[in-house]
Amino acid sequence: MIEGFTALYIFMLSAFTGYEVISRVPVILHTPLMSGSNFVHGIVLVGAMIALGHAEGTLELAIGFFAVALAAGNAVGGYVATVRMLEMFQIRKDRSKGATA
């Protein structure tokens, strides 16, 4: 499906996109953003599911299980941690809104 140079093009364009998307982030959001990008690579879950899906034999199944469990941990943990951090900014915004109203 994705072959040779097409894959390289995807790789290159994604690399520049990542760089551009982040380049103007304020310092206060560095930690939430790191946590957020940590969540985004939780998409490895999809790959882990496929790997376990076509695993054969005990060894492959065991490693695949390990992969899916870890990947799910990455995705869920990353999401909850990021949301918890960002909610703090949210609460504060609501409060200041309430104060001006």
Partner: protein
Amino acid sequence: MILVIDIVYFLTAAVFIIGLKQMSSPVTAHRGVVWAGIGMLVATLATFGAPDIELGSNINLWLIVVAIATGSAVAWISAKKVAMTDMPQMIAMYNGMGGGAAAAIAAVELVKLSSPETANLDHGLVVQVLAVLGAVIGSVSFSGSAVAFAKLQGLMKKTLRLPAHQLINIALFIAVCVTGYWVATGSPVSAEHLLWFFVLAVVLGVMVTLPIGGADMPVVISLFNALTGLAVAFEGFVLDNAAMIIAGTVVGSSGTLLTQLMAKAMNRPISNVLFSSFGSDGGAAAEEAIEGSMKEIQANDAAIMMAYASKVIIVPGYGMAVAQAQHKLKEMAELLEERGVTVKYAIHPVAGRMPGHMNVLLAEAGVDYDQIFDLDEINADFATADVALVIGANDVVNPVARSNPDSPIYGMPILNADKAMNTIVIKRGQGSGFSGIENHLFYADNTRMLYGDGQKAVAGLIAGIKQL
């Protein structure tokens, strides 16, 4: 079905990029992560319809469900329960899990190539090489993040350095390269080589992270985050999965940029962080003799000092986070403001254990944005401040970074708390900071030490101000 899945992956990749973009502004950040979360959920559900999974026996399907449930439950509970102050090590842990997952995917694919029945499912050399690269990077990120977690959680001694550590690492790296080469070119892959390859890669991750001091941890965690992204992208190539390639690469490049920003804030090149540890080579010998002594102050006196000041700058550090003193600090700042004192917060880029860590905690306490200042914005202000209140910060206000070229932190930009008319330092005890370097600020003539737990000390200050 395959078309549907492809469309879902395509949209997921788009949503991730938009989500990350939104995460770079405080107003839209929350929306951004929720969007990305929905994308992740839909992509996961759609994957259940993938041909690889449909073709698999029922056991595989059940294993997937159980594994997702187990991993999610553990992560959900730990992420909900953890205190905000411990967030950095949790990020390290979740990141390590992602790296481990990427490495395990490679392991499944490579094990397939090692068994005689399935070895004819040749992916081709390029794919095999990419799988191996992803496996190395993922394994290093996995074990390295685990060490980072253990260090930040206080389960492990801060720095550990074997004799000739550098040489051992180089030897390990070469060994990983050699076994990796065997695995990448093997047809069929030798199971023994494969085992050694993974063991060596995991050990390499541990050995690289062991000598790195706590002050450098944010940079290291960010670097591992970028590496995990890259590993995910490589495994995406192996599995022909565009969503993984795009998301992984975007995280890889943005994470690299973030790492550079952090390393720059500490004025240390990344290579320096990785290959030399704080205070290792002659760091102790470079220690200057310190003149003067630490002078203690009582909470009431410190309260009076601040209450009659016109400008107070608060410098929070990791100690504030540990003591959960941010709410008390905000309360104290409000009392001071009622008395007409200008209160500002000065945040060093690497205060705490991660850039922006202090901002998150202060936001939790409800401190206003416009009271919080970066290093560059506020450093000139210290000269006109009556009091600089340093709470739980140490290395980021150590003037040695300016004056002593032999010091391991020399050249790191610091907050000029020593330039304020008076400096009050809230500190648990007389020990030195995370880097293990003595702080000359504490011995300066205009510095007073207020010993105690951050929260109790600030409570004492509040009581003192209320009495006036």
